[in-house]
């Protein structure tokens, strides 16, 4: 805490080497983490659900192709792919969100595919088809609402891991431009300040990341028990 001469607290969490208020930077940093976390999960989720459901519904070659792509991506440590893309294409929120989003689709595709395959033969799907609904309408209006629960659970855990990945990439200097405060970026800057004794610069951004990620993990656990008791303890 830094107080002025009259003893009124000016900076609750202190200031950094350039005199900027850590507390306000933390609050602004939440923007990037949450924005990137939610958007990337949304992009990855949408992509994965569409591909997974299409594969699961159509089967055959389309399905095999999509699953082969998923296998290839899983066989590749994702963060390395992200690093390479960002080094060549340059960093920035858009690229960050895109690459993190693309990194997530496999998880959703696999679950959406398995669920669609089990729902495809159900009578309500047959009924919708008998009423003359098109394939796309059956997929996204009839089947999707019925397989949403496990996907929402995964999405919650996924927001947590995307926020961790974003922080790691920002820490490596591959996130948003250095003028925009991010938690990972603040931690990267704090490294040079450790020996100067400015410990608070390293402690608070980390606590912010940890609490946010922890919240989404707990939310995920709770959602899983609440929405889909069958998945309990299945991690």
């Amino acid at each position: 805490m830094v107080a002025d001469r009259e003893g009124v607290v000016q900076h609750y969490l202190g200031t950094d080497a350039l005199g900027r208020d850590v507390y306000s930077r933390l609050i602004y940093g939440a923007r990037v983490s949450l924005l990137v976390g939610f958007t990337a999960v949304f992009i990855g989720g949408a992509l994965g659900v569409v591909l997974g459901m299409t594969g699961g519904y159509l089967g055959g070659r389309v399905d095999a192709l999509i699953m082969r792509l998923a296998d290839i991506q899983l066989a590749f440590p994702f963060i390395l792919l992200a690093i390479m893309f960002l080094v060549v294409l340059g960093s920035g929120v858009l690229n960050l969100v895109l690459i993190l989003g693309i990194g997530q689709w496999v998880t959703y595709a696999r679950i959406a595919r398995a669920q669609t395959m089990s729902q495809r033969e159900k009578e309500y799907v047959e009924a919708a088809l008998a009423l003359g609904a098109s394939g796309a309408s059956v997929l996204f209006k009839t089947i999707l609402p019925n397989i949403l629960a496990p996907l929402i659970v995964i999405a919650s855990f996924n927001v947590a891991s995307v926020i961790l990945a974003e922080a790691a990439l920002s820490f490596l200097g591959l996130g948003v431009p250095p003028t925009v405060p991010t938690w990972g970026g603040m931690l990267a800057e704090s490294r040079d300040q450790l020996l100067a004794g400015r410990w608070w610069l390293a402690v608070y951004p980390g606590v912010a990341i940890m609490l946010t990620v922890l919240s989404f993990n707990i939310l995920g656990d709770w959602l899983r028990d609440f929405l889909d008791p069958r998945l309990r303890g299945a991690d």
Binding site: F76, L80, I83, M84, L164, A168, G233, A234
Partner: protein
Amino acid sequence: MPPPPAAAPGIGAASAGRRADTSYLAEHLMWQYVISRVVQAGIVIVAVTLITFLTLHMGGDPTYLYVSDRASDEEIQLVRERLGFDRPLHVQYLSFLGGLVQGDTGRSLTYRTPAMNVVIERLPATIELTVMAMLIAVVFAIPLGVIAALNRGTAVDGGIMAMAMFGQSIPSFWLGIMLILFVGLGLSWLPISGHVPVLEPLLKGDFERAWTNLPNALRYLIMPAFTISLFSMSRNARLVRSSMLEVLSQDYVRTARSKGLREWNVVMRHALRNAWMPVVTMLGLEFGFLLSGVVVVETVFSWPGVGRLVFNAINQRDVPLVQSAVVMFAGVFVLLNLIVDLLYARLDPRVRLS
């Protein structure tokens, strides 16, 4: 784990009629599985090289990475021709692939030497770190998971699971910084950065130096290895717990108990053996997680491995060096997954039959 592809070339199909005994059938299935897995790994490697190659070109003409901002058009054109960036894309890819087979991925922009050599030089330090981290992640996770499962619903279980939840939520690089701050600088228990080589003298055949270096090397290893492994350790503990709970409710465990075996024997010899199979399955993928952690954690602890090399290469936009490291990591990752899958199929016949 990706399911093995259904179709694979039949091996020794001609002799199948003559020797139709079951051991032959089992061997036949094993080979079918091995070949399909090797082919799959090969496809992945080719895909990795293709992606690596294409990313270099996605940012526009890569020539500009190699020339200074003030270079004239003639100079740029000269460099473009010298590096072959004026050729059609597929020709460039084939020559990239051809170079890769010979371990040549171009020259590092900062080191001015072949990029792959720079990466290989740093590899031993990274392997030391990853192996140690893997060891910590498994050795601590199994007892923690077992203890939590045996005390299901008690405060012990709750405590271990809460710790695991925290462990999965802490960014590794921050944990590293905190350890440096409190254990390294505050308590002065362990060195905050640096590295004493063990694997490198070992590979050069200098056993004596490796042996004398070992105690000191471990002191330098503990903090970074723990930092990388905490996430995996937490996840493994949860995994062991849930699979242990499942196994403990099985009939054969009840039978073992009803035979009057001591609880220790039931848990250790009957339950645990089956409960840690999911962890074995995860080990290959685990390595990928740990490798991802290596880049940030090596940077935090100034560990002279491939991870920090990548970090520096990123900052200097040394694309060939980043590419070499990525291809190297991906190659090691695919190879290890292949080995784990094959070992697993050897241990558990159900895998290759499915």
